[in-house]
Subunit: 162 residues, 6 copies
């Protein structure tokens, strides 16, 4: 806990991938489950980079498929930690696709995932603070807080009614 | 559109799985990305059963990992359509785990996923109405509406601030 | 051994699957080896449910591919224990396929597989009795015995001649 | 049909494999479904070599797991066509395992699988005759016929009773 | 051909990965074949980025495994194009590993791979020139030429003797 | 070390494979990374057969893709140990492809890979001598030496210049 804060930039992860025939669904685009795996891995490595500990996935808070990625699409998966909450962290992941011979990039998928830092016994442990620096990072830091509030408000409102 | 409504029960899907060594993460439990694949497949088949059409995954609205599932756990993945919104449907998925020789069941994962019905040209098409019958189905139907409202409210509040 | 008998119905397992491009053979239908994996898993979970122990596959007594399942087919794999023989059990597995937007179901595969119940040291252990209830379950119980007799008769007749 | 016969030896196929951690079941040995895939592939290539056509798997007539193959086992999978029946062929497959640094070989699995030769439209087509030469090949040729008779006798006896 | 040159930096690709239990060999480290797949993919995407065309792998000129990467290692795979030869390009790939909670990085693997740019008909096509800028990039550009010469010299010396 | 030499023939390994849709790249041929896995496995089993110990892959010294192998191609992968160097061995691997219904064989890939024999603690251990017998085996034995010399010469010349 006494550990020094780190910047958001220090948590940034990039993964390149190419959509191959073994990765596609019946519509000829990357299978959602496969894309989720990639997104979860990228977010988890970002969380791991920031916390300097092992992490486990707690929840996918939102993951939206924006455009299909057909065979041959080259994917660029970018993840970073948006905000730290005591023992948990929200990571944001963006997947961009492009085709060889084209200049156009397409947004394939955007996701927000919460990871928990754990020790060797898999018990949650506090995560060092994170410092957003750019205006985008500051905006994402604020949005992460609002996403969390909205989620908690929804959960308690649904539970009240049960 | 003029199509007859169907019951929630008619959309129910069950998948059994066993966690094998090839499915685990570095903590010895089922890899989150693999579980997401199973959950997405089960929800997609439920949506497909209800709509009678092909479907594509639009978004994972929430997916929470409740307990780890170590090697040898037998999983029971249950999915059904909670509610229909014109061309989209929310499916709910629950994953329960148990071990051979034990009577205890553990909740492994719960998820809400939105699918869109599509025609052969992959254009969205209207989905026939769904009829919740039991009190649980009616509660889920209501909650699906509230989840959607909360999501849309959050999105517009975040966009306003940008 | 003193354990109470259970019904066949209590062993029933259902698995849903969808045939994706990564699952097919050079003819464009589900690869036989992949289908066998699914069938073995479903039968093994049924055996596990009945015995309440770990199980190992002893033999595939017969597995017939009835119709090809092309990409997009939704599979329903149903397994149950047909009969118990001291430490082993015959499970029956049926795979049915259907296409989104069609009412027709096709029989894809039928299989009979024998599993052995094992303890922690992987030694065979007795399996509690099973009680067939419906006329179909009683017929399958009788057929399981006849399949076993025919198999043993064939083996001893072939061995005599060597 | 007027095609020249070929010898059994000309159909022989050998596949080497090593059991890796990604291939095992919860007991630490090769997963049955994975082994079945290898066996089906080896038998199919043998059938393909003999017929000179594409083939599809018709049935696994018998497949027995004789001994577990733990991680690190090197597998030798041998397949050949035992006998031809008009448009179908029985292939026999044996899987032997050994460990680096040991001289001992273990029988892991034995299987008899029936394949059908198909043309481009996937219609069954006649298979050229096969000539067993060694005494082992002649014995297997005879046994393939007896296995087929026993199977057909069982099927018709079970159907009579329904 | 008249196309403008691009810098080496514009071809740089980074892939992050984590070694999971499903990726390891019998020694508990990443399976060589799996690592080769990752390396080939990363190099291919770098080549694709530089050429702006599809590419096919022509040869792995050298790939050295420097240290094992046990389960839990986070891999950083970096690839860039070292030099262009008319229709082909040498890509260099480095794989670095580190463990959560450690500051140490280990060199896991280094590779040089040659890719060919191809058009839609899979015919080789000229690749635009590449411009090394840093002293490291210039050294790699020179070394790529020497590796190629040594390779061609070896091939012709071996062929002479046959 | 005092161990008796063995022949090259005793190390020979053969693997048959068929290229399935799940194995291909965006050009419709076997994915390079998948082929490398098969080649590494075959070479490793040959090395293991000769040394009678566990082995680890040290380097891929050269691997050339000669022709693409489209879906349906049956592959014959042949590996043997070319030469022993104290604790390491060079294995040579050839991959031949053919299509059902055709008599033509195509060279798909050729590779030279170096493996190191290791004991239980993964320390390198001396490998028993190998005896080439046929003129092809003797030629390969000589070429393995020249490949090694050329490689070492290149390495030291590149290092001098750094």
């Amino acid at each position: 806990m006494g550990e020094k804060a780190r910047t958001v930039s220090a948590s940034c992860v990039e993964m390149a991938e190419i959509v191959q025939p073994m990765d596609i669904n019946i519509h000829g685009s990357i299978f959602g489950g496969h894309l989720m795996s990639l997104v979860d891995k990228a977010g988890g490595i970002a969380a791991c980079r920031h916390s300097g500990t092992s992490v486990v996935t707690l929840s996918v808070d939102h993951l939206a498929f924006k455009n299909p990625a057909p065979v041959g699409t080259i994917l660029s998966i970018k993840a970073s930690v948006n905000r730290v909450f005591r023992t948990s962290m929200e990571a944001g992941v963006r997947v961009i696709g492009w085709k060889a011979g084209s200049d156009e990039e397409t947004l394939i998928c955007r996701a927000y995932i919460t990871y928990v830092a754990v020790d060797e016994a898999k018990k949650p442990i506090p995560v060092r603070p994170i410092v957003p620096e750019t205006s985008d990072q500051i905006r994402r830091w604020e949005e992460a807080g609002r996403r969390r509030e909205a989620r908690l408000a929804l959960v308690s409102s649904l539970e009240e009614r049960r």
